[in-house]
Symmetry: C3
């Protein structure tokens, strides 16, 4: 409660960020920090509004709305970056969101819950289905990256078409996943009582109407878009000032900020021993980023921005996603968790974080060349 209370005070950073952006446009570090802080409470209100709306529309539709609006900031930030042609920033952000949710959010939740409860249990079939969807997400990044690596100069021209077609397949599977979890097998996902979650929040914001929920959703989303545009603009400069690479900023720093809402809710639910809900927020969010947000961006980029975006992520990004998918699959598949499993997820996140921190700056396409040069320069 204290955390959320103090977060609301951070709304003061909304006007501060706007003021700085117009008065001191060159002070990128301060703008970056203020925009990050301003997004924190907005993401929280976005989450609350979604939950209240879910209480009215029922669990099934509520889950859909929660997932969709929960990643709204991600989508908005990414669309803004696409228009500026910052494709590598978008890809880093998607990577960071995927690995951040399944390693940091799920890891911290499992670890915190595991400290309180010896063993925590959850619906194994639902967890395995989500784990397999993550594997599919991993495959959808591995294949274009390997294609880029294998197809050579002749194949580059075909990467756009390949990415568009894979995106359509991913959207179909995501639609299938919605039908599966909302219609044909919704009882598997009964472990996700969104209404109860909202109930526990009712102490603080009781009785939101649909109108109020939708209004807050719209306002919070609009402000996040505003802040995020300012944020993306300052990312590259801030990164250089701190000596960080833009990949590290995108994959680690921005991802932690952008997923603050998921973080707090997932950990809170794990501490209430509701691991089904906790893992569903963490893993479900990753699934949505990989199978919905990423392909939507590929398709949207055909119409907006300076050039289309493909699904060719850098080798480091693909590897990070694959390793995350592998270890979370091992941990989620048996339907129970403990603190050591949470610690292992966090360990993988830290190892990947350190590696991204040390990794020299290079674009996704240049990375392969870099690797070849590394070989040649020995």
């Amino acid at each position: 409660m204290k955390i959320r209370f103090s977060l609301d005070w951070f709304l003061v950073f909304v006007p501060v960020t706007v003021a700085l952006e117009y008065l001191r446009p060159t002070d990128h570090v301060t703008i970056f920090v203020c925009a990050c802080l301003a997004i924190l409470p907005l993401a929280g209100w976005l989450g609350h509004a979604t939950e209240h709306l879910a209480a009215h529309t029922g669990e099934g539709v509520g889950g859909l709305l929660n997932a969709t609006f929960g990643n709204a900031a991600e989508l908005i930030i990414a669309l803004a970056a696409l228009q500026k042609g910052l494709h590598d920033v978008v890809k880093a952000s998607l990577t960071g969101s995927i690995i951040g949710n399944i390693l940091l959010v799920a890891g911290a939740s499992t670890f915190a819950g595991g400290l309180k409860y010896r063993v925590q249990r959850f619906q194994a079939t639902a967890a395995r289905t989500q784990s397999t969807l993550l594997t599919l997400a991993g495959i959808s990044l591995v294949v274009p990256a390997m294609f880029h690596h294998l197809a050579g100069a002749k194949g580059i021209a075909k990467e756009g078409g390949l990415s568009v077609e894979i995106s359509v397949v991913l959207l179909l599977i995501y639609t299938g996943h919605l039908i599966f979890s909302l219609v044909t097998h919704k009882q598997l996902f009964k472990g996700l009582p969104t209404s109860e979650e909202t109930e526990s929040r009712h102490d603080h914001h009781p009785g939101w109407s649909v109108t109020k929920s939708v209004t807050v959703l719209a306002v919070a989303t609009a402000f996040i878009a505003w802040m995020s545009e300012i944020l993306v603009g300052s990312v590259e400069q801030a990164a250089h000032t701190f000596g960080m690479t833009s990949v590290f900023v995108g994959v680690i720093v921005v991802a932690i900020i952008g997923n603050a809402a998921e973080h707090s809710t997932a950990i809170l639910m794990a501490l209430k021993n509701r691991m089904d809900l906790s893992l569903s927020i963490a893993i479900g969010s990753s699934i949505q980023v990989a199978l919905f947000v990423a392909p939507i961006l590929v398709l949207a980029s055909q119409f907006i921005g300076p050039r289309p975006m493909d699904l060719v992520f850098s080798p480091a990004e693909v590897l990070a996603v694959v390793l995350s998918v592998v270890i979370v699959g091992e941990i989620a598949s048996d339907g129970e968790s403990n603190w050591l499993e949470g610690a292992m997820l966090l360990a993988v996140y830290i190892i990947l974080g350190i590696s991204f921190y040390f990794l020299p700056e290079m674009g996704s396409h240049e990375a392969v060349t870099g690797a070849a040069q590394a070989g040649a320069s020995h």
Copy 2:
């Protein structure tokens, strides 16, 4: 029933193909299409004969016969291609058969069965054993490919010996698998009632004697060999005419045709909620191709054809097999399936199919060079 009935009419394409081969040898597209169509009913009769024979010899031996004769066409086509030195065609065909069975056949079966039954169950231990055998198959392709990649010019000369020795190991494990499923742990595979399957076929072909079964087997196998030799001869030209690469033709087009018998039987059994049998046909066929057909071809190539074949598959082929093995392992390990799992298998097949379609033409050995050039040309 209708499908099989109409398939029998396709036997007319046997004389048509032979006539075209001698009268219009340059019309490769028509010969290719006619030979493909002629193989369809022949593969069906091969399957029927095997099943009838299995009804006489019992489930255990029947399973062995079914698996062995089910892949007879594969082996015959491959031996014909080996003699012509078309090693890349053979490897593409093996790859296509492996991924076609575990993604397309198992995927379509699981999807179709899942539309009819909410959850379908099967013997988990047997499924996991088969899944681990597939992992071993994946390893047996990864290791020679990495050896080729890592050993450099000095190592090329040793690839033949490496492939022969790995092939012997694989044949030993395949023998072990037969002993395991037919002798020491045959009760685990009771879920595979070949006699019942034959019973359901008895409506159409009741009471085949052993003599008749063996005769049909022999005749069907001989005709398939004839057609397949003509088919292989026209593949390269047909591929160029359609603008397809020979890898795509081998991995996708030929594999779908060559595994038509497995396709129809597996889907039919899934619709009867007999997932043990359905998955066993699909996964068992892949296991036999990887652990029996492939090593037999490597050993046979030491004596026939212009030069020995090794186990060095192209990176794209190895990746396709590995990804297929990973996702089918996740889906098969828990002993139950649903339509979304089938849809995910099909999605991976489509993603791989698109990639092979777009992948520029290059041989298995040139692929690595292509990758290096891709890096260098940036």
Copy 3:
């Protein structure tokens, strides 16, 4: 019993090795063979002493002592090699110990036990936790290797820092694993009755006091250190004499010798249908090598030897560990084993062994260059 009896006679090779080292220092092959034979009984006595000590201190602490002293030889050999700057020998030894334990030791145990008992069961949650720890170990080798491959010339300087920081993370997880298995979840590991194991040994060495146990531990450890220093010194020459590469010697030959104690104990326990203990020795030893010995060596190398050691293993070594981790994970995760699973583990070991035998000599850092040259030379 006979095996151990005859092993004790091999103690005569201790003075023989020392004599040869001083009298005929150039006869590397004989010295190598004698040192290997001398280590066999010493490793056995080291194991016995640890077990007797465990009988006094209880299962929990006993498990810790067993694991720690069981890998003492490994650590001592490696520290000696580090001081001589033989970093590649150390890495090969670590790789060989990891894959030898999870493929050869666990494979032979599962196979031998499976021939006697149709199905052998063990605590699945404990096995899965250990399997996930192995996955983490695999990730901790994949990430630095990929970093080396991707970071290019700019990144080489940062590999030392990356390796040190990953090592600290691994040591924290290993500490967590100890707390998990000795404190918070020790009942999961009740299947590891070290006291019973000791009991079965009591026939041969009844009633060792703590003093005697510690004395034997100290003496055996000291002699192993002596022998191992001589052994390491002769490895490179012996390898060349036999025509073996130092990688093959390190990964396969030295690993088999160095893990003789684990081998015999694990197989013996499997034959007694105590698979929890058997797999725990095999997998637990691999975990300790990967999450304790390797990071300790990285940290120790900052202070001793000519230059620091990093976690950048050769691609072949990383691949071998990853493939081993994948297949043992599939086999261990369901809590039961059979002879075919053991045969499959042995098959992967043989396939990897053949590959390392044929792989041309190159250092871990040169391997990437070799791969690039392989591409370029085509």
